[in-house]
Symmetry: C2
Subunit: 225 residues, 2 copies
């Protein structure tokens, strides 16, 4: 397996102890995220657009309409920066100054390649769906050739990448530990609630278990069952 | 009140019906977000960095270490793009193609101004804390002059901005409504769980109600109680 490259721009400058470069951690953050934020430059100015992503092996895939400005910019081979952030909790210290958040974020720098082959596009759409909600693909009408033509797919290598993580309790200045304030963490997570039926759902169809007991996003492969 | 400016770059190109420019909606998205993603350009290349933000009236405030690359870049007056995305649910259509997410996102373009005055810095740190967890400020040791000096604060006008929203059930092609698949929405929200005590908490201090019954981020003002 190729190494994750640590370069000047992926070197975490602030709080360097929070910067980690392990491949497995970066992959786990990407796999657990619902959306990424894609940064790109047009006429010297930055754009940051949220979109769905999926990691498959060492590549990150994005998709959308062939009219998407973001996808068309990336298709030109310009530099992109894709960031996924997971929020894990509020960190309440005794001092206002040491309040923080527990989080995990991954940042990928790179240039995209367009996926043109309709067979590969289909596998990417499968993996996007299965990443977000495993088991769903088999309960859908799969894309037609026209729909595949109407979907643009690009991929970036997960090569020049880094992660940044904060976990654990607050860290106060030693003299503040005697203050009479509560301190600790309020854990946070993206949590599902009961599925809402489509108003036009055919009678007698119940939500499948992957929706009724939704476990969150996960790892995907390009293999279609 | 100044109008929110709709410019070429804030005009939502894809799915224009999802683009909205109302000030109140943009404010509500910013107020409900835990983090924003800040895009900026260095040597022609994009960076996207997650950080805490707070809106106060018509400005968005960011803070961090005086050594932060992101803050120092913004302090030079370069263009920034700040995006806040709230995820509201997975939209499960009968066709793979029409799967989607319910979400609300706000995008702000602008250039930052450094907040130098220590009194204003203190008010911004107050509003950052109260935005994330209302009621907390009064239970903290407030920042010292040295801590204020060790905190960099910048603000951007919420002027050139837009929002994009998807709500409601899936929209399938008419001929797909007869398919035997469940369809609907799996609602998602950032949800707190029971507060975790700091291992060094003084005995007998219980979590305050703002942590035990944490309602999520909200609107902040610069007024300190």
């Amino acid at each position: 397996m190729a190494e994750i490259r640590q370069t000047e721009r992926t070197t975490v400058r602030r709080l360097a102890k929070r910067g980690v470069y392990e491949r497995e951690l970066i992959h786990a953050i990407l796999d657990q995220g619902f959306v990424c934020h894609v940064g790109f430059v047009v006429d010297g100015k930055p754009f940051v657009i949220p979109t769905i992503h999926v990691r498959v092996a060492e590549r990150l895939y994005l998709h959308g309409s062939p009219a998407s400005r973001m996808l068309n910019c990336l298709a030109q081979g310009i530099e992109a920066c894709v960031t996924v952030t997971l929020i894990d909790g509020l960190v309440l210290a005794r001092s206002a100054f040491h309040h923080s958040m527990n989080y995990r974020s991954a940042v990928i720098f790179g240039t995209a390649t367009v996926v043109d082959d309709s067979g590969e596009k289909l596998r990417v759409l499968h993996s996007l769906t299965e990443h977000l909600i495993k088991g769903r693909w088999q309960d859908t009408r799969i894309p037609t050739p026209a729909e595949l033509k109407g979907t643009m797919v690009v991929s970036l290598p997960i090569d020049e990448a880094s992660a940044k993580v904060r976990t654990g309790p607050p860290l106060d200045d030693e003299e503040d530990y005697s203050l009479p304030f509560w301190a600790g963490v309020v854990p946070l997570a993206m949590t599902p609630s009961a599925p809402i039926h489509d108003p036009r759902l055919r009678p007698g169809i119940e939500p499948p278990s992957y929706a009724a007991n939704y476990p969150g996003p996960g790892t995907a492969s390009l293999e279609i069952d």
